[in-house]
Subunit: 330 residues, 2 copies
Protein backbone atom coordinates (compact mmCIF):
# COMPACT_ATOMS: atom_id res chain seq x y z
CA UNK A 1 0.00 0.00 0.00
CA UNK A 2 1.92 3.05 -1.24
CA UNK A 3 1.18 6.26 0.65
CA UNK A 4 2.36 8.66 -2.08
CA UNK A 5 4.04 8.68 -5.47
CA UNK A 6 4.80 10.95 -8.42
CA UNK A 7 3.37 9.84 -11.79
CA UNK A 8 2.63 11.54 -15.13
CA UNK A 9 3.26 14.95 -13.65
CA UNK A 10 0.84 14.35 -10.80
CA UNK A 11 1.17 13.57 -7.11
CA UNK A 12 -0.91 10.50 -6.34
CA UNK A 13 -1.75 9.94 -2.69
CA UNK A 14 -3.79 7.51 -0.68
CA UNK A 15 -6.72 9.33 0.97
CA UNK A 16 -6.08 8.34 4.58
CA UNK A 17 -9.32 9.82 5.88
CA UNK A 18 -11.28 7.00 4.20
CA UNK A 19 -9.31 4.10 5.69
CA UNK A 20 -9.95 1.37 6.70
CA UNK A 21 -13.32 1.37 4.91
CA UNK A 22 -12.20 2.51 1.48
CA UNK A 23 -8.93 2.43 -0.45
CA UNK A 24 -9.00 5.48 -2.71
CA UNK A 25 -6.13 7.33 -4.36
CA UNK A 26 -6.38 11.06 -5.04
CA UNK A 27 -4.49 12.84 -7.83
CA UNK A 28 -3.16 16.34 -7.25
CA UNK A 29 -1.98 18.17 -10.35
CA UNK A 30 -1.13 21.49 -8.73
CA UNK A 31 0.28 22.72 -5.47
CA UNK A 32 -3.06 24.10 -4.28
CA UNK A 33 -4.89 20.80 -4.46
CA UNK A 34 -1.98 19.11 -2.72
CA UNK A 35 -1.94 21.79 0.00
CA UNK A 36 -5.65 21.25 0.56
CA UNK A 37 -5.12 17.50 0.80
CA UNK A 38 -2.54 18.20 3.52
CA UNK A 39 -4.90 20.54 5.38
CA UNK A 40 -7.69 17.98 5.21
CA UNK A 41 -5.31 15.26 6.47
CA UNK A 42 -5.81 13.10 3.41
CA UNK A 43 -2.04 12.89 3.61
CA UNK A 44 -0.49 13.06 7.11
CA UNK A 45 2.38 11.82 9.22
CA UNK A 46 5.48 13.93 9.78
CA UNK A 47 7.90 12.13 7.41
CA UNK A 48 5.25 11.81 4.72
CA UNK A 49 4.52 15.53 5.01
CA UNK A 50 8.19 16.09 4.25
CA UNK A 51 7.86 14.05 1.05
CA UNK A 52 4.52 15.64 0.12
CA UNK A 53 5.96 19.11 0.57
CA UNK A 54 8.90 18.27 -1.74
CA UNK A 55 6.51 16.75 -4.28
CA UNK A 56 4.36 19.88 -4.12
CA UNK A 57 7.30 22.03 -5.19
CA UNK A 58 8.11 19.46 -7.87
CA UNK A 59 4.58 19.92 -9.25
CA UNK A 60 5.18 23.66 -9.55
CA UNK A 61 8.57 22.97 -11.15
CA UNK A 62 7.08 20.68 -13.79
CA UNK A 63 4.56 23.35 -14.74
CA UNK A 64 7.19 26.12 -14.87
CA UNK A 65 9.74 24.12 -16.86
CA UNK A 66 11.15 26.05 -19.83
CA UNK A 67 10.30 29.48 -18.45
CA UNK A 68 13.04 31.99 -17.52
CA UNK A 69 15.03 31.04 -14.47
CA UNK A 70 13.71 33.94 -12.35
CA UNK A 71 10.11 33.05 -13.10
CA UNK A 72 10.74 29.41 -12.26
CA UNK A 73 12.25 30.33 -8.92
CA UNK A 74 9.33 32.67 -8.20
CA UNK A 75 6.91 29.80 -8.86
CA UNK A 76 8.88 27.47 -6.60
CA UNK A 77 8.95 30.08 -3.84
CA UNK A 78 5.22 30.58 -4.17
CA UNK A 79 4.62 26.84 -3.98
CA UNK A 80 6.83 26.58 -0.88
CA UNK A 81 4.97 29.42 0.81
CA UNK A 82 1.61 27.76 0.15
CA UNK A 83 2.86 24.44 1.49
CA UNK A 84 4.38 26.04 4.59
CA UNK A 85 0.99 27.62 5.37
CA UNK A 86 -0.75 24.24 5.68
CA UNK A 87 0.39 22.84 9.01
CA UNK A 88 2.73 24.48 11.49
CA UNK A 89 4.06 21.67 13.69
CA UNK A 90 5.71 18.93 11.59
CA UNK A 91 9.17 20.29 10.85
CA UNK A 92 9.82 17.82 8.01
CA UNK A 93 7.46 19.80 5.82
CA UNK A 94 9.57 22.95 6.28
CA UNK A 95 12.93 21.19 5.99
CA UNK A 96 12.00 19.49 2.72
CA UNK A 97 10.64 22.65 1.13
CA UNK A 98 13.80 24.49 2.10
CA UNK A 99 16.02 21.76 0.76
CA UNK A 100 14.29 21.63 -2.63
CA UNK A 101 14.40 25.41 -2.98
CA UNK A 102 18.08 25.59 -2.13
CA UNK A 103 18.98 22.81 -4.55
CA UNK A 104 17.00 24.52 -7.33
CA UNK A 105 18.62 27.87 -6.57
CA UNK A 106 22.11 26.43 -7.01
CA UNK A 107 21.36 24.73 -10.35
CA UNK A 108 21.34 25.88 -13.97
CA UNK A 109 18.05 24.05 -14.46
CA UNK A 110 16.11 24.91 -11.32
CA UNK A 111 12.92 23.14 -12.41
CA UNK A 112 14.67 19.90 -13.31
CA UNK A 113 16.74 20.03 -10.17
CA UNK A 114 13.66 20.61 -7.96
CA UNK A 115 12.00 17.46 -9.31
CA UNK A 116 15.21 15.51 -8.87
CA UNK A 117 15.68 16.73 -5.29
CA UNK A 118 12.07 15.86 -4.43
CA UNK A 119 12.56 12.31 -5.67
CA UNK A 120 15.81 12.13 -3.71
CA UNK A 121 13.90 13.13 -0.54
CA UNK A 122 11.40 10.37 -1.23
CA UNK A 123 14.14 7.75 -1.69
CA UNK A 124 15.98 8.99 1.36
CA UNK A 125 12.88 8.68 3.50
CA UNK A 126 12.56 5.04 2.49
CA UNK A 127 16.24 4.34 3.16
CA UNK A 128 16.36 6.23 6.46
CA UNK A 129 13.21 4.57 7.81
CA UNK A 130 14.46 1.12 6.89
CA UNK A 131 17.67 1.78 8.79
CA UNK A 132 15.75 3.30 11.73
CA UNK A 133 13.52 0.21 11.88
CA UNK A 134 16.53 -2.12 11.80
CA UNK A 135 18.31 -0.32 14.61
CA UNK A 136 15.18 0.17 16.70
CA UNK A 137 14.19 -3.48 16.40
CA UNK A 138 17.35 -4.39 18.35
CA UNK A 139 15.81 -2.68 21.38
CA UNK A 140 12.68 -4.82 21.34
CA UNK A 141 12.68 -8.16 23.11
CA UNK A 142 10.81 -11.37 22.56
CA UNK A 143 7.61 -11.11 24.65
CA UNK A 144 7.46 -7.33 24.72
CA UNK A 145 4.05 -5.75 25.27
CA UNK A 146 4.11 -2.43 23.47
CA UNK A 147 1.87 0.58 23.56
CA UNK A 148 1.79 3.11 20.73
CA UNK A 149 -0.17 6.17 19.71
CA UNK A 150 -1.48 7.62 16.46
CA UNK A 151 -0.04 6.19 13.24
CA UNK A 152 3.67 5.97 12.56
CA UNK A 153 3.62 3.20 9.99
CA UNK A 154 4.32 3.06 6.29
CA UNK A 155 1.24 5.26 5.82
CA UNK A 156 2.93 8.06 7.78
CA UNK A 157 6.07 7.92 5.63
CA UNK A 158 7.18 7.17 2.09
CA UNK A 159 7.43 3.60 3.41
CA UNK A 160 8.48 1.37 6.35
CA UNK A 161 7.29 3.82 9.01
CA UNK A 162 9.03 5.04 12.14
CA UNK A 163 7.78 3.69 15.51
CA UNK A 164 5.58 1.16 13.73
CA UNK A 165 8.42 0.26 11.40
CA UNK A 166 10.50 -0.70 14.44
CA UNK A 167 7.67 -2.93 15.66
CA UNK A 168 7.01 -4.65 12.33
CA UNK A 169 10.76 -5.18 11.77
CA UNK A 170 11.12 -6.85 15.20
CA UNK A 171 8.09 -9.00 14.37
CA UNK A 172 9.69 -10.08 11.06
CA UNK A 173 12.76 -11.08 13.04
CA UNK A 174 10.56 -13.54 14.92
CA UNK A 175 10.13 -11.67 18.19
CA UNK A 176 6.71 -12.28 19.73
CA UNK A 177 5.05 -8.95 20.41
CA UNK A 178 1.67 -7.69 21.51
CA UNK A 179 0.76 -4.12 20.60
CA UNK A 180 -1.83 -1.89 22.28
CA UNK A 181 -2.81 0.86 19.86
CA UNK A 182 -4.48 3.96 21.32
CA UNK A 183 -7.33 4.89 19.02
CA UNK A 184 -6.13 8.55 18.98
CA UNK A 185 -9.09 10.87 19.00
CA UNK A 186 -10.35 12.90 17.34
CA UNK A 187 -9.35 11.40 13.98
CA UNK A 188 -8.70 7.83 15.12
CA UNK A 189 -5.44 7.26 13.27
CA UNK A 190 -4.54 4.58 15.81
CA UNK A 191 -7.74 2.61 15.27
CA UNK A 192 -8.06 3.20 11.55
CA UNK A 193 -4.48 3.15 10.33
CA UNK A 194 -2.16 1.57 12.91
CA UNK A 195 -4.45 -1.37 13.61
CA UNK A 196 -4.87 -1.94 9.86
CA UNK A 197 -1.12 -1.91 9.21
CA UNK A 198 -0.39 -4.28 12.10
CA UNK A 199 -3.16 -6.67 11.06
CA UNK A 200 -1.67 -6.71 7.53
CA UNK A 201 1.75 -7.53 8.96
CA UNK A 202 0.36 -10.24 11.22
CA UNK A 203 1.33 -8.47 14.45
CA UNK A 204 -1.21 -9.05 17.26
CA UNK A 205 -2.87 -5.70 17.98
CA UNK A 206 -5.49 -4.59 20.48
CA UNK A 207 -7.14 -1.21 20.08
CA UNK A 208 -8.01 0.77 23.21
CA UNK A 209 -9.55 4.18 23.81
CA UNK A 210 -7.08 6.89 24.76
CA UNK A 211 -8.56 6.90 28.26
CA UNK A 212 -7.68 3.23 28.77
CA UNK A 213 -3.91 3.68 28.39
CA UNK A 214 -3.30 4.10 32.13
CA UNK A 215 -5.38 1.03 32.92
CA UNK A 216 -3.50 -1.02 30.32
CA UNK A 217 -0.10 0.08 31.63
CA UNK A 218 -1.13 -0.79 35.18
CA UNK A 219 -2.97 -4.05 34.51
CA UNK A 220 -1.66 -5.53 31.27
CA UNK A 221 2.11 -5.59 31.63
CA UNK A 222 3.10 -3.00 29.05
CA UNK A 223 6.91 -3.22 28.80
CA UNK A 224 7.70 -0.37 26.39
CA UNK A 225 5.95 2.66 24.93
CA UNK A 226 7.07 3.76 21.49
CA UNK A 227 5.75 6.74 19.54
CA UNK A 228 6.76 8.97 16.62
CA UNK A 229 7.44 12.71 16.50
CA UNK A 230 6.49 15.76 14.50
CA UNK A 231 9.33 17.98 15.71
CA UNK A 232 12.10 17.49 18.25
CA UNK A 233 13.83 20.49 19.82
CA UNK A 234 17.57 20.60 20.54
CA UNK A 235 17.04 19.74 24.22
CA UNK A 236 14.92 16.71 23.29
CA UNK A 237 11.47 18.16 23.98
CA UNK A 238 9.20 16.44 21.47
CA UNK A 239 6.06 17.56 19.68
CA UNK A 240 3.84 14.68 18.71
CA UNK A 241 0.14 13.86 18.36
CA UNK A 242 -2.05 15.12 21.21
CA UNK A 243 -2.09 12.50 23.94
CA UNK A 244 1.61 11.66 23.68
CA UNK A 245 2.57 13.81 26.66
CA UNK A 246 0.22 12.04 29.05
CA UNK A 247 1.39 8.64 27.82
CA UNK A 248 4.94 9.70 28.71
CA UNK A 249 3.86 10.76 32.22
CA UNK A 250 1.97 7.47 32.68
CA UNK A 251 4.91 5.44 31.40
CA UNK A 252 7.19 7.15 33.93
CA UNK A 253 4.70 6.45 36.74
CA UNK A 254 4.69 2.75 35.82
CA UNK A 255 8.44 2.46 35.27
CA UNK A 256 7.98 1.75 31.57
CA UNK A 257 10.63 3.12 29.17
CA UNK A 258 9.25 5.64 26.70
CA UNK A 259 10.90 5.80 23.26
CA UNK A 260 10.50 8.27 20.41
CA UNK A 261 11.27 6.87 16.94
CA UNK A 262 11.99 9.52 14.32
CA UNK A 263 14.45 10.19 11.52
CA UNK A 264 16.99 12.89 12.36
CA UNK A 265 15.20 15.09 9.79
CA UNK A 266 12.58 15.55 12.52
CA UNK A 267 15.12 17.34 14.72
CA UNK A 268 14.77 21.09 14.72
CA UNK A 269 18.09 22.29 16.06
CA UNK A 270 16.93 25.88 15.69
CA UNK A 271 14.43 25.29 18.50
CA UNK A 272 16.17 25.30 21.88
CA UNK A 273 13.21 23.71 23.65
CA UNK A 274 9.57 22.70 23.21
CA UNK A 275 8.50 26.24 24.02
CA UNK A 276 9.69 27.29 20.57
CA UNK A 277 7.59 24.67 18.74
CA UNK A 278 4.28 26.02 17.41
CA UNK A 279 1.25 23.87 18.21
CA UNK A 280 -1.52 23.56 15.64
CA UNK A 281 -5.09 23.98 16.89
CA UNK A 282 -7.61 22.39 14.58
CA UNK A 283 -11.30 22.91 13.93
CA UNK A 284 -13.76 22.25 16.77
CA UNK A 285 -15.87 20.19 14.37
CA UNK A 286 -13.34 17.34 14.49
CA UNK A 287 -14.37 16.81 18.12
CA UNK A 288 -17.95 18.12 18.08
CA UNK A 289 -19.22 15.87 15.27
CA UNK A 290 -18.91 12.10 15.21
CA UNK A 291 -20.12 10.29 12.11
CA UNK A 292 -22.03 13.41 11.05
CA UNK A 293 -23.87 13.63 14.36
CA UNK A 294 -23.34 16.52 16.76
CA UNK A 295 -22.06 15.15 20.08
CA UNK A 296 -21.05 18.44 21.72
CA UNK A 297 -23.87 20.93 22.30
CA UNK A 298 -23.57 24.00 20.09
CA UNK A 299 -23.07 26.43 22.95
CA UNK A 300 -20.13 24.54 24.50
CA UNK A 301 -16.54 25.42 23.60
CA UNK A 302 -14.14 22.87 22.15
CA UNK A 303 -10.35 22.98 22.46
CA UNK A 304 -8.68 20.82 19.82
CA UNK A 305 -4.89 20.93 19.96
CA UNK A 306 -3.44 18.58 17.33
CA UNK A 307 -0.15 18.12 19.20
CA UNK A 308 1.42 18.39 22.59
CA UNK A 309 4.98 18.71 23.86
CA UNK A 310 6.62 15.92 25.84
CA UNK A 311 9.52 17.25 27.90
CA UNK A 312 12.81 15.45 27.25
CA UNK A 313 13.05 14.19 30.84
CA UNK A 314 10.29 11.65 30.17
CA UNK A 315 12.03 10.20 27.10
CA UNK A 316 14.34 7.21 27.44
CA UNK A 317 15.89 7.79 24.02
CA UNK A 318 15.40 8.68 20.37
CA UNK A 319 15.45 5.80 17.92
CA UNK A 320 16.93 7.22 14.69
CA UNK A 321 18.65 5.98 11.55
CA UNK A 322 21.91 6.70 13.39
CA UNK A 323 21.00 4.57 16.38
CA UNK A 324 19.67 5.48 19.83
CA UNK A 325 20.35 9.13 20.66
CA UNK A 326 19.98 11.03 23.91
CA UNK A 327 19.56 14.78 24.24
CA UNK A 328 20.98 17.32 23.79
CA UNK A 329 20.82 16.62 20.07
CA UNK A 330 22.69 19.64 18.68
CA UNK B 1 -34.87 17.55 32.82
CA UNK B 2 -35.85 14.59 34.98
CA UNK B 3 -33.68 11.51 34.52
CA UNK B 4 -36.20 8.99 35.91
CA UNK B 5 -39.61 8.80 37.55
CA UNK B 6 -42.35 6.36 38.46
CA UNK B 7 -45.76 7.03 36.91
CA UNK B 8 -48.93 4.97 36.29
CA UNK B 9 -47.16 1.78 37.23
CA UNK B 10 -44.32 2.42 34.80
CA UNK B 11 -40.74 3.56 35.09
CA UNK B 12 -40.19 6.49 32.76
CA UNK B 13 -36.61 7.28 31.91
CA UNK B 14 -34.78 9.70 29.68
CA UNK B 15 -32.93 7.80 26.94
CA UNK B 16 -29.44 9.16 27.52
CA UNK B 17 -27.95 7.52 24.43
CA UNK B 18 -29.84 9.99 22.22
CA UNK B 19 -28.66 13.19 23.93
CA UNK B 20 -27.89 15.92 23.07
CA UNK B 21 -29.60 15.47 19.69
CA UNK B 22 -32.90 14.11 20.88
CA UNK B 23 -34.92 14.31 24.11
CA UNK B 24 -36.89 11.08 24.29
CA UNK B 25 -38.42 9.35 27.30
CA UNK B 26 -38.77 5.58 27.38
CA UNK B 27 -41.43 3.73 29.39
CA UNK B 28 -40.56 0.42 31.03
CA UNK B 29 -43.49 -1.57 32.36
CA UNK B 30 -41.60 -4.63 33.51
CA UNK B 31 -38.27 -5.45 35.05
CA UNK B 32 -36.89 -7.00 31.86
CA UNK B 33 -37.34 -3.92 29.73
CA UNK B 34 -35.78 -1.81 32.50
CA UNK B 35 -32.85 -4.23 32.81
CA UNK B 36 -32.28 -3.97 29.07
CA UNK B 37 -32.38 -0.16 29.27
CA UNK B 38 -29.65 -0.41 31.92
CA UNK B 39 -27.56 -2.76 29.79
CA UNK B 40 -27.91 -0.47 26.78
CA UNK B 41 -26.92 2.53 28.93
CA UNK B 42 -30.18 4.35 28.20
CA UNK B 43 -30.06 4.91 31.94
CA UNK B 44 -26.58 5.20 33.52
CA UNK B 45 -24.67 6.88 36.32
CA UNK B 46 -23.97 5.12 39.59
CA UNK B 47 -26.53 6.89 41.83
CA UNK B 48 -29.20 6.72 39.13
CA UNK B 49 -28.55 3.00 38.73
CA UNK B 50 -29.34 2.69 42.43
CA UNK B 51 -32.68 4.40 41.88
CA UNK B 52 -33.41 2.46 38.70
CA UNK B 53 -32.68 -0.81 40.44
CA UNK B 54 -35.11 0.06 43.27
CA UNK B 55 -37.72 1.13 40.72
CA UNK B 56 -37.26 -2.15 38.88
CA UNK B 57 -38.18 -4.11 41.97
CA UNK B 58 -41.08 -1.73 42.54
CA UNK B 59 -42.36 -2.62 39.05
CA UNK B 60 -42.34 -6.30 39.98
CA UNK B 61 -44.06 -5.47 43.28
CA UNK B 62 -46.86 -3.57 41.57
CA UNK B 63 -47.51 -6.52 39.29
CA UNK B 64 -47.46 -9.04 42.17
CA UNK B 65 -49.68 -7.02 44.51
CA UNK B 66 -52.52 -9.08 46.04
CA UNK B 67 -50.82 -12.43 45.54
CA UNK B 68 -49.69 -14.59 48.49
CA UNK B 69 -46.76 -13.19 50.42
CA UNK B 70 -44.39 -15.97 49.39
CA UNK B 71 -45.13 -15.47 45.72
CA UNK B 72 -44.63 -11.73 46.02
CA UNK B 73 -41.24 -12.23 47.66
CA UNK B 74 -40.26 -14.73 44.95
CA UNK B 75 -41.12 -12.15 42.27
CA UNK B 76 -39.12 -9.47 44.03
CA UNK B 77 -36.14 -11.82 44.38
CA UNK B 78 -36.36 -12.69 40.70
CA UNK B 79 -36.48 -9.01 39.76
CA UNK B 80 -33.48 -8.27 41.96
CA UNK B 81 -31.50 -11.11 40.39
CA UNK B 82 -32.24 -9.81 36.89
CA UNK B 83 -31.21 -6.28 37.84
CA UNK B 84 -28.01 -7.46 39.53
CA UNK B 85 -27.04 -9.24 36.32
CA UNK B 86 -27.01 -6.04 34.28
CA UNK B 87 -23.83 -4.25 35.32
CA UNK B 88 -21.26 -5.45 37.83
CA UNK B 89 -19.34 -2.35 38.93
CA UNK B 90 -21.70 0.33 40.32
CA UNK B 91 -22.39 -0.77 43.87
CA UNK B 92 -25.44 1.47 44.27
CA UNK B 93 -27.41 -0.89 42.06
CA UNK B 94 -26.73 -3.80 44.45
CA UNK B 95 -27.23 -1.77 47.63
CA UNK B 96 -30.62 -0.47 46.52
CA UNK B 97 -31.89 -3.86 45.44
CA UNK B 98 -30.81 -5.31 48.76
CA UNK B 99 -32.44 -2.53 50.71
CA UNK B 100 -35.81 -2.86 48.93
CA UNK B 101 -35.80 -6.64 49.39
CA UNK B 102 -35.03 -6.40 53.09
CA UNK B 103 -37.70 -3.78 53.71
CA UNK B 104 -40.27 -5.90 51.87
CA UNK B 105 -39.25 -9.00 53.78
CA UNK B 106 -39.89 -7.31 57.13
CA UNK B 107 -43.34 -5.98 56.19
CA UNK B 108 -46.86 -7.47 56.24
CA UNK B 109 -47.45 -5.97 52.80
CA UNK B 110 -44.18 -6.72 50.95
CA UNK B 111 -45.38 -5.34 47.62
CA UNK B 112 -46.59 -2.06 49.05
CA UNK B 113 -43.48 -1.73 51.14
CA UNK B 114 -41.19 -2.38 48.15
CA UNK B 115 -42.77 0.48 46.21
CA UNK B 116 -42.57 2.73 49.25
CA UNK B 117 -38.91 1.89 49.85
CA UNK B 118 -38.05 2.50 46.18
CA UNK B 119 -39.63 5.95 46.34
CA UNK B 120 -37.75 6.59 49.57
CA UNK B 121 -34.46 5.72 47.81
CA UNK B 122 -35.36 8.18 45.05
CA UNK B 123 -36.11 10.97 47.54
CA UNK B 124 -33.00 10.18 49.54
CA UNK B 125 -30.83 10.41 46.44
CA UNK B 126 -32.17 13.89 45.79
CA UNK B 127 -31.60 14.98 49.38
CA UNK B 128 -28.16 13.42 49.71
CA UNK B 129 -26.93 14.90 46.43
CA UNK B 130 -28.18 18.34 47.36
CA UNK B 131 -26.28 18.15 50.62
CA UNK B 132 -23.18 16.75 48.90
CA UNK B 133 -23.28 19.63 46.40
CA UNK B 134 -23.62 22.19 49.18
CA UNK B 135 -20.70 20.82 51.13
CA UNK B 136 -18.51 20.26 48.08
CA UNK B 137 -19.13 23.77 46.77
CA UNK B 138 -17.32 25.11 49.84
CA UNK B 139 -14.12 23.57 48.50
CA UNK B 140 -14.30 25.41 45.19
CA UNK B 141 -12.84 28.88 44.89
CA UNK B 142 -13.65 31.84 42.73
CA UNK B 143 -11.51 31.51 39.60
CA UNK B 144 -11.06 27.74 39.80
CA UNK B 145 -10.30 25.93 36.55
CA UNK B 146 -11.80 22.46 36.89
CA UNK B 147 -11.38 19.29 34.93
CA UNK B 148 -13.97 16.51 35.05
CA UNK B 149 -14.68 13.21 33.37
CA UNK B 150 -17.75 11.36 32.16
CA UNK B 151 -21.12 12.61 33.44
CA UNK B 152 -21.88 13.10 37.10
CA UNK B 153 -24.70 15.60 36.78
CA UNK B 154 -28.41 15.46 37.41
CA UNK B 155 -28.61 12.96 34.55
CA UNK B 156 -26.44 10.52 36.51
CA UNK B 157 -28.65 10.74 39.59
CA UNK B 158 -32.26 11.27 40.62
CA UNK B 159 -31.28 14.93 40.56
CA UNK B 160 -28.57 17.51 41.41
CA UNK B 161 -25.69 15.23 40.48
CA UNK B 162 -22.47 14.47 42.36
CA UNK B 163 -19.24 15.99 41.01
CA UNK B 164 -21.19 18.14 38.57
CA UNK B 165 -23.65 19.06 41.32
CA UNK B 166 -20.75 20.48 43.32
CA UNK B 167 -19.68 22.55 40.31
CA UNK B 168 -23.15 23.89 39.47
CA UNK B 169 -23.82 24.72 43.14
CA UNK B 170 -20.57 26.71 43.39
CA UNK B 171 -21.53 28.50 40.16
CA UNK B 172 -24.95 29.40 41.62
CA UNK B 173 -23.14 30.87 44.61
CA UNK B 174 -21.45 33.28 42.22
CA UNK B 175 -18.02 31.68 41.99
CA UNK B 176 -16.47 32.12 38.54
CA UNK B 177 -15.46 28.73 37.21
CA UNK B 178 -14.18 27.28 33.96
CA UNK B 179 -14.74 23.57 33.37
CA UNK B 180 -12.82 21.29 31.01
CA UNK B 181 -14.96 18.24 30.25
CA UNK B 182 -13.18 15.16 28.90
CA UNK B 183 -15.35 13.76 26.12
CA UNK B 184 -15.08 10.25 27.64
CA UNK B 185 -14.79 7.67 24.90
CA UNK B 186 -16.24 5.40 23.82
CA UNK B 187 -19.74 6.67 24.65
CA UNK B 188 -18.93 10.38 24.98
CA UNK B 189 -20.89 11.05 28.16
CA UNK B 190 -18.63 14.03 28.84
CA UNK B 191 -19.28 15.65 25.45
CA UNK B 192 -22.93 14.69 25.15
CA UNK B 193 -24.22 14.95 28.72
CA UNK B 194 -21.83 16.97 30.90
CA UNK B 195 -21.35 19.75 28.35
CA UNK B 196 -25.14 19.93 27.85
CA UNK B 197 -25.85 20.16 31.56
CA UNK B 198 -23.20 22.85 32.11
CA UNK B 199 -24.41 24.89 29.13
CA UNK B 200 -27.95 24.73 30.57
CA UNK B 201 -26.67 25.98 33.93
CA UNK B 202 -24.63 28.76 32.32
CA UNK B 203 -21.27 27.37 33.49
CA UNK B 204 -18.48 27.98 30.93
CA UNK B 205 -17.43 24.58 29.59
CA UNK B 206 -14.79 23.48 27.11
CA UNK B 207 -14.86 19.93 25.76
CA UNK B 208 -11.54 18.18 25.09
CA UNK B 209 -10.60 14.72 23.88
CA UNK B 210 -9.46 12.33 26.60
CA UNK B 211 -5.94 12.52 25.17
CA UNK B 212 -5.78 16.28 25.71
CA UNK B 213 -6.19 16.14 29.51
CA UNK B 214 -2.44 16.11 30.20
CA UNK B 215 -1.89 19.04 27.86
CA UNK B 216 -4.70 21.01 29.51
CA UNK B 217 -3.36 20.34 33.01
CA UNK B 218 0.10 21.45 31.94
CA UNK B 219 -0.83 24.45 29.80
CA UNK B 220 -4.19 25.74 30.95
CA UNK B 221 -3.92 26.19 34.70
CA UNK B 222 -6.27 23.46 35.91
CA UNK B 223 -6.61 23.99 39.66
CA UNK B 224 -8.77 21.00 40.69
CA UNK B 225 -9.91 17.71 39.20
CA UNK B 226 -13.26 16.41 40.39
CA UNK B 227 -14.91 13.16 39.32
CA UNK B 228 -17.64 10.77 40.51
CA UNK B 229 -17.41 7.12 41.52
CA UNK B 230 -19.12 3.81 40.84
CA UNK B 231 -17.77 1.97 43.86
CA UNK B 232 -15.34 2.94 46.61
CA UNK B 233 -13.52 0.28 48.62
CA UNK B 234 -12.87 0.57 52.35
CA UNK B 235 -9.28 1.70 51.79
CA UNK B 236 -10.45 4.43 49.40
CA UNK B 237 -9.55 2.74 46.10
CA UNK B 238 -12.16 4.01 43.66
CA UNK B 239 -13.79 2.45 40.62
CA UNK B 240 -14.98 5.03 38.13
CA UNK B 241 -15.33 5.47 34.37
CA UNK B 242 -12.34 4.29 32.32
CA UNK B 243 -9.86 7.15 32.07
CA UNK B 244 -10.26 8.28 35.68
CA UNK B 245 -7.11 6.52 36.87
CA UNK B 246 -4.86 8.28 34.39
CA UNK B 247 -6.42 11.65 35.23
CA UNK B 248 -5.49 10.99 38.87
CA UNK B 249 -1.89 10.17 37.93
CA UNK B 250 -1.69 13.29 35.76
CA UNK B 251 -3.19 15.46 38.50
CA UNK B 252 -0.56 14.21 40.95
CA UNK B 253 2.21 14.93 38.42
CA UNK B 254 0.97 18.52 38.07
CA UNK B 255 0.33 19.10 41.77
CA UNK B 256 -3.42 19.42 41.22
CA UNK B 257 -5.74 18.08 43.96
CA UNK B 258 -7.94 15.22 42.78
CA UNK B 259 -11.39 14.89 44.42
CA UNK B 260 -13.99 12.14 44.20
CA UNK B 261 -17.59 13.29 44.80
CA UNK B 262 -19.98 10.47 45.73
CA UNK B 263 -22.75 9.77 48.21
CA UNK B 264 -21.71 7.40 50.99
CA UNK B 265 -24.05 4.83 49.41
CA UNK B 266 -21.23 4.39 46.86
CA UNK B 267 -18.92 3.04 49.57
CA UNK B 268 -18.57 -0.72 49.56
CA UNK B 269 -17.20 -1.48 52.99
CA UNK B 270 -17.20 -5.19 52.17
CA UNK B 271 -14.43 -4.56 49.64
CA UNK B 272 -11.09 -4.11 51.41
CA UNK B 273 -9.42 -2.63 48.34
CA UNK B 274 -9.88 -2.00 44.63
CA UNK B 275 -8.73 -5.52 43.88
CA UNK B 276 -12.10 -6.77 45.11
CA UNK B 277 -14.12 -4.55 42.78
CA UNK B 278 -15.26 -6.29 39.59
CA UNK B 279 -14.60 -4.37 36.39
CA UNK B 280 -17.13 -4.54 33.57
CA UNK B 281 -15.80 -5.15 30.08
CA UNK B 282 -18.18 -4.01 27.40
CA UNK B 283 -18.72 -4.92 23.77
CA UNK B 284 -15.91 -4.23 21.27
CA UNK B 285 -18.44 -2.60 18.97
CA UNK B 286 -18.61 0.47 21.22
CA UNK B 287 -15.03 1.23 20.18
CA UNK B 288 -14.90 -0.39 16.74
CA UNK B 289 -17.86 1.48 15.24
CA UNK B 290 -18.27 5.23 15.20
CA UNK B 291 -21.49 6.65 13.82
CA UNK B 292 -22.24 3.30 12.19
CA UNK B 293 -18.88 3.21 10.40
CA UNK B 294 -16.25 0.59 11.22
CA UNK B 295 -13.10 2.37 12.40
CA UNK B 296 -11.19 -0.65 13.72
CA UNK B 297 -10.32 -3.33 11.14
CA UNK B 298 -12.27 -6.54 11.70
CA UNK B 299 -9.20 -8.65 12.46
CA UNK B 300 -7.89 -6.38 15.22
CA UNK B 301 -8.77 -7.01 18.87
CA UNK B 302 -10.49 -4.39 21.01
CA UNK B 303 -10.24 -4.13 24.80
CA UNK B 304 -13.10 -2.08 26.23
CA UNK B 305 -13.02 -1.83 30.02
CA UNK B 306 -15.87 0.39 31.22
CA UNK B 307 -14.12 1.32 34.46
CA UNK B 308 -10.73 1.49 36.10
CA UNK B 309 -9.51 1.62 39.68
CA UNK B 310 -7.82 4.71 41.09
CA UNK B 311 -5.69 3.83 44.13
CA UNK B 312 -6.57 5.86 47.23
CA UNK B 313 -3.11 7.46 47.41
CA UNK B 314 -3.95 9.68 44.41
CA UNK B 315 -7.17 10.98 45.96
CA UNK B 316 -7.15 14.19 48.00
CA UNK B 317 -10.54 13.44 49.55
CA UNK B 318 -14.09 12.17 49.11
CA UNK B 319 -16.79 14.80 48.88
CA UNK B 320 -19.90 13.23 50.45
CA UNK B 321 -23.17 14.33 52.02
CA UNK B 322 -21.34 14.08 55.36
CA UNK B 323 -18.53 16.38 54.27
CA UNK B 324 -14.99 15.68 53.09
CA UNK B 325 -13.85 12.20 54.09
CA UNK B 326 -10.44 10.56 53.93
CA UNK B 327 -9.75 6.83 53.85
CA UNK B 328 -10.01 4.39 55.51
CA UNK B 329 -13.76 4.75 55.23
CA UNK B 330 -14.92 1.81 57.35
Amino acid sequence: MRSIYLEDGKVVLLDQTLLPGELRYVECDDVDSLARAIEELKVRGAPLLGVASAFGIALAAMKARGRPRREVMAELERAAARLRSTRPTAVNLFHSAQRVLEAARRDEDPAGRAVEEALRIYEEDLRVNRELARRGAELLEDGDVLLTHCNTGSLATAGYGTALGVITEAHRQGKRLLVYACETRPLLQGARLTASELVEEGVPVTVITDGAAGYVMRARGVSKVIVGADRIARNGDTANKIGTYQLAVLAREHGIPFYVAAPTSTFDLAAASGEEIPIEFRDAGEVAFVGGRRVVPARAEVLNPAFDITPARYIEGFITERGLLKPPLG
